[in-house]
Amino acid sequence: MEKPLSAVPQTEVRKPSLGSRLKLIAKHWMDYLFIAPFFVTFAIFGLYPLLWAMQLSLSRWRGFGPMTYVGLENYRAIFRDPYVVQALVNTVQFTVILLPTGIFISVLFAVILNDRRLAGRGIFRTIYFLPYITSSVIVAIVFTQLFDDTLGWVNYGLQALNLPTVRWLRSSPWGAKTVVVLLTHWGGIGYNVLLFLGGLQSIEPEVYEAAKIDGASGQQIFWRITLPMLRPIVFFLMIIATIGLMNMFNQPYMLTRGGPQGATETLMLRLYNMGIGQSRFGDASAFGFLVSFLVVGIMILQMRFRKSATD
């Protein structure tokens, strides 16, 4: 890297020699030791599996015997798999439903709970957060019973209101999807409310005061001040939710195993069935890579979108 001539004397821009750099690093050996566990562990349990996945995705192998190189054959097989297409469609559906409704409900409750004159706001905050600490396996068990065709509270309530009952988990595809959506909301809303509450409290009271003096209405304040200030959190949640939804496994595994008729099959469930269930290690690795590209691609799009929105 040749630098153009500058007025700075050569002796000052000269990089330290390799020897003196090594000495500097040796002097700080303890600091490197402090951070070494992360990098060593990541290399073994993160990087090495990643490279191995790359090799597996280009090979045919069932866990024993020789590994044969098949090029992009596994990737082609993934695109031909109708279950994969369905899992992708389902995951996109879940994302499109869960993300906007989740953000809307969370912002609504955060705004309500941010009112300092509201009695019992701490109690409500705690109650909404409580599902977050509960195992998704346990949540699924309880929801399976609540939405049981004949024994559950939900159909009982529908009957009491003279409405038709729904066979939620066993035979109604949209019913099963609804349960997955409700369960995910129930578990996650409380955390999101806390994030938005934190965001609301970081807005200086003076900003509101000034707006009120200028004669802004409550609605104007919400749309012009509160919501724009929450934009970084919405962005953060969109990234987190994308990663979470692409990883969605426990809920459909416990509730329906992907049924009925594949209505709740998610990408991770398909990956699990393909790789662990059927020992199709090559196909599953290729599939995992494709999903990863998708996740990273969506994140890049989100960051682009955020940039153009803030500019």
């Binding site: 500097l24 402090f34 951070i35 562990t41 349990f45 090495y48 905050r125 019973q145 990883n247």
Partner: protein
């Protein structure tokens, strides 16, 4: 969100209470929705299957509180072992995350060494690595190469590399430990490590407790990892046992047993949550996001 008040702010008028009524109704309705599943789980664990499988669902056990599900859970299923395993795995995992995150977080926050910023950025980048890509080789590595199938090592050793934990602790140490404290410790002859144990660790316990609770909750509830790794009855954790109770489409699920098992698995987490509630909620509200 009424902004038209011009009267004295502290006077409570009837109209003000009435104007709040819809808000409270909404809050209470949602609170009930959030609590109800916990309620059915807890009360259902004391019901007989005849209560749970009657024509209409019951709010209260018809024959009084019955402990037979709990007895059966311990006597026949041997639930004590998986329950112990769950929290044993989680506690060791949490200690590992806390120690290594605090140590590396301290180095990234307070120590000056060549390449610090680049290494920190590299560490943050690893958070973007999607789990899907490495699920299969992760499983193969643990079970086939390292021979860690049916052991707890797969949950403990990788916990030394928690990018989120290190990030969290770096932020916390930056804000909670003044440089002067470390300077004077160095003058007193502390090595970097003894400064960590004597100066840093004692003052960062709020940050540690938030990270600890989040890690402990996630570790107690992990499912996919144990599903892949653990299989012997003496090693499996509570979520796996509960998942087995779900039965198949042929065998009817045993809700009373599942509710009792779920209640026991949830209770310690609820206790931990209430012990650290304030710090946890404030921690999530304050520090979780940086721009």
């Amino acid at each position: 969100m009424k902004t038209t008040r011009r009267t004295r702010p502290l006077r409570i008028t009837l109209s003000k209470v009435l104007s709040r009524l819809p808000t409270y109704a909404l809050l209470v309705l949602f609170a009930l929705i959030f609590i109800f599943p916990f309620y059915t789980m807890f009360v259902g664990s004391f019901m007989l299957d005849s209560d749970l499988f009657s024509r209409s669902p019951n709010l209260w056990p018809s024959g009084g509180f019955d402990f037979s599900s709990y007895r059966e859970l311990f006597a026949t299923v041997g639930y004590a072992r998986p329950l112990f395993n769950t929290f044993y795995v989680a506690i060791v995992q949490t200690i590992g995350v806390l120690f290594f995150s605090a140590l590396a977080g301290y180095a990234f926050a307070k120590r000056r060494f060549p390449g610090r910023e680049k290494l920190f950025a590299a560490m943050l980048l690893t958070m973007l690595l999607p789990a899907q890509a490495t699920l299969i080789p992760w499983y193969l590595l643990m079970v086939k190469h390292l021979g860690w199938g049916d052991t707890y090592w797969p949950f403990w050793v990788p916990a030394w590399a928690s990018a989120f934990g290190i990030f969290w602790m770096r932020q916390y140490i930056n804000s909670a430990v003044p440089d002067e404290l470390l300077d004077s410790a160095a003058i007193d002859g502390c090595t970097p490590f003894s400064a960590f144990t004597r100066v840093v660790l004692p003052v960062v316990s709020p940050g540690l407790s938030v990270l600890g609770v989040l890690t402990f909750v996630a570790a107690s509830n992990q499912f996919l990892g144990p599903l892949l790794i653990l299989n012997s009855p003496s090693k499996i954790t509570a979520p796996l046992v509960l998942a087995n109770f779900m039965g198949t489409t042929i065998i009817a699920p045993r809700y009373s047993m599942m509710f009792a098992g779920s209640t026991l698995a949830t209770l310690p987490l609820v206790v931990v949550f209430f012990l650290f509630q304030r710090q946890l909620i404030e921690g999530i509200m304050s520090g979780a996001i940086k721009g």
